[in-house]
């Protein structure tokens, strides 16, 4: 007797490797499962469950609505002069240090990540501009500029807001607000690690300091960037003050970015705004298909009781929390080398959740671990989405970028170790806001 579950899983892997979109591959595998099960047990299964699961899932997934709006917000910020002003502010702030523009890269990523929830948006927006600055006078090699931009972009979805955290909230049933809060301190730690890495490399290779902006210029630059700098404050204040849900915060972020870009900075034309909507709706569509496919896939693994079976199986090994977390970190990092981050959270994490609970690991803490892992996966060769993006921007061969990105990967892994084994460090901030965990 053929096992429908095994066959459909094999089909998903084969289709995905054949270059069919990952969401569609999952949807196809799940449909095949339903067809085969229907043939064996005509009463309990019907292929119409596939469309039903997808439609109901998308229709009832209120939290998910934050995703298209965060994408839109980031697109608006990227087309306006908002990014430029932020960069000038960062340059005035940290450009004076050794490897100045590298530090500017780190700090601007931190600020931008307080407004956008996507690493890709960070790399293509701010990242593109700062790569231009770093390579203009041959001060930094294009490969190094590309590598540090990709590495710092990983902070984007760790510091709130965050699209991957929204996806994690969907599969783990945790509060988006607390998940966002839990990313705050780890995100800053990652940024610190990368700033330090840049400092060490800058000293070794004698990178220049940036043209020093006189300190008396600082108030003016700050004033010009001030409306943009307020956005993270409004977002986080709104969410944690209980004024708005994270989903509404996404709409507010987009509205705020639009208002300051059009009225205050006069840098976004109606046409540019419409183009942002067009692009944003396309990106939302591609991530939506992935989410829809993973919903049908999750139906299958739940139906087969895979997550609980795995939990029982692993309990048989008497694995300690530490051992389990190490294993999970390695697993997600390896998967991250070949699968896109959002897909990992939607596919792998739901299978692990019951085990995580059985181990007594806090689900918010685990969310941060999973997302940090998945984001590091965006810069690990051979398949790191951010690596492709920055090598495309700089027109550098991907191999050269990979060579430069290693020190940053190591720095991020060190941060990951601390994040994994010091739950109090991660949960400190959410607890401050009332999280009982």
């Amino acid at each position: 007797m053929i096992d429908p579950f095994a066959i459909s899983m094999i089909l998903i892997v084969v289709l995905a490797l054949f270059g069919i979109s990952v969401g569609l591959a999952m949807f196809s595998g799940s449909m095949l499962y339903l067809i085969l099960m229907d043939a064996q047990f005509p009463r309990g299964f019907d292929p119409s469950i596939g469309p039903e699961t997808m439609l109901q899932g998308l229709f009832n997934g209120y939290t998910l609505l934050a995703i298209p709006l965060f994408i839109l917000a980031a697109d608006i910020m990227n087309i306006g002069s908002l990014a430029d002003r932020l960069l000038k502010f960062c340059q005035a702030l940290v450009g004076r240090f050794r490897g100045g523009l590298g530090q500017v890269n780190v700090v601007s990523s931190v600020i931008f990540s307080g407004m956008s929830g996507s690493a890709v948006a960070d790399a293509v927006g701010m990242g593109k501009i700062i790569i231009g600055l770093m390579t203009r006078d041959g001060k930094y090699s294009p490969a190094y500029a590309a590598a540090i931009t990709a590495a710092t972009a990983t902070v984007g979805p760790i510091i709130p807001p965050s699209i991957p955290m929204v996806l994690y909230a969907l599969v783990s049933d945790q509060s988006v607000g607390y998940l966002f809060a839990a990313g705050m301190v780890p995100g800053l730690l990652m940024a610190l690690m990368m700033g330090f890495t840049n400092y060490v490399i800058a000293r070794k290779r004698d990178f220049p300091t940036d043209t020093e902006v006189p300190l008396r210029e600082l108030p003016r630059v700050t004033y010009e960037a001030f409306p943009a700098l307020m956005l993270p404050v409004i977002l986080l204040g709104g969410i944690y003050g209980g004024v708005m849900t994270p989903t509404e915060a996404a709409a507010v972020a987009a509205a705020y970015a639009l208002i300051i870009s059009t009225i205050l900075y006069r840098s976004v034309s109606p046409k540019a705004f419409w183009d942002a909507l067009r692009g944003g709706s396309r990106s939302a569509g591609s991530i939506g298909v992935l989410i829809g496919g993973s919903m049908t896939f999750n139906y299958v693994i739940t139906r087969e009781d895979i997550p609980n079976t795995l939990a029982m199986f692993l309990q048989g090994f008497d694995l300690s929390q530490t051992g389990f977390l190490i294993a999970v970190n390695i697993l997600i990092l390896l998967l991250g080398c070949v699968i896109e981050g959002g897909a990992i959270i939607l596919i792998v994490v739901p299978i692990l959740i019951p085990t995580v609970q059985a181990m007594g690991i806090d689900l918010v803490h685990f969310g941060v671990i999973a997302v940090v892992n998945a984001m590091i996966g965006l810069i690990t060769p051979p398949y790191g989405l951010l690596l492709f993006i920055v090598s495309n921007i700089t027109e550098q061969p991907i191999g050269r970028v990979i060579k430069e990105v290693w020190p940053f990967i190591i720095a991020l892994l060190l941060a990951l170790i601390l994040i994994t084994f010091a739950p109090d460090f991660v949960l400190w901030f959410p607890r401050l806001l009332g999280y009982q965990g």
Partner: protein, 169 residues
């Protein structure tokens, strides 16, 4: 063939305007929702419903009419590493398999969507078969796209071109 291409380009272009309008409506309605609740003190139901329907339609419509292969989240590491001959073979096998699965299940999908006509949404009181209607073109689009993929793989038509142009999309 080039006429067909021009037609699909035209549809994709206008479809994209429509999805942009849907996204814009989500954005506006959300802002209205916040205004209603905090400024006017009136919590409303229809806003959430509109936004979820726009999101659902946006995704499925986008896949059906707008998106190109290059827009999708794919794992192309193996695909790009093999020779053209293998790529074509993968397209034929993958395309036909998926098309067969979705061809077989099309009546089931139709049954589900039409069956949902018995329920109505909470705020607008729209019947669910209308709300979910976009699923049927989506399901058919999967079949058509996959058949085209298989045919292209079989004939080798614009295969070389496809992999280059998809990067620019």
């Amino acid at each position: 063939m080039s006429k067909l291409r021009a037609l699909t380009d035209w549809v994709a272009n206008w479809g994209n305007h429509l999805t942009a309008a849907l996204l814009f409506s989500m954005f506006v309605v959300f802002v209205l929702q916040i205004l209603f609740r905090y400024v006017l003190g009136l919590p409303v139901l229809w806003t959430v419903e509109w936004v979820t329907i726009a999101w659902l339609w946006g995704i499925l419509f986008s896949f059906t009419f707008v998106m190109r292969t290059g827009d999708m989240i794919r794992l192309d590491i193996v695909y790009n590493a093999v020779s053209l001959k293998w790529q074509r073979a993968m397209d034929v096998v993958g395309g036909l398999t998926v098309a067969a699965i979705f061809g077989y299940t099309l009546p089931h999908a139709w049954d589900y969507v039409t069956f949902m006509g018995i329920e109505r949404t909470a705020a607008f009181l729209w019947p669910f078969d209308v709300v979910f209607a976009i699923y049927i073109p989506f399901h058919i689009a999967i079949i058509v796209r996959m058949l085209l993929l298989a045919v292209d793989g079989f004939t080798g038509a614009n295969h070389h071109l496809e992999s280059e142009s998809s990067d620019n999309d």
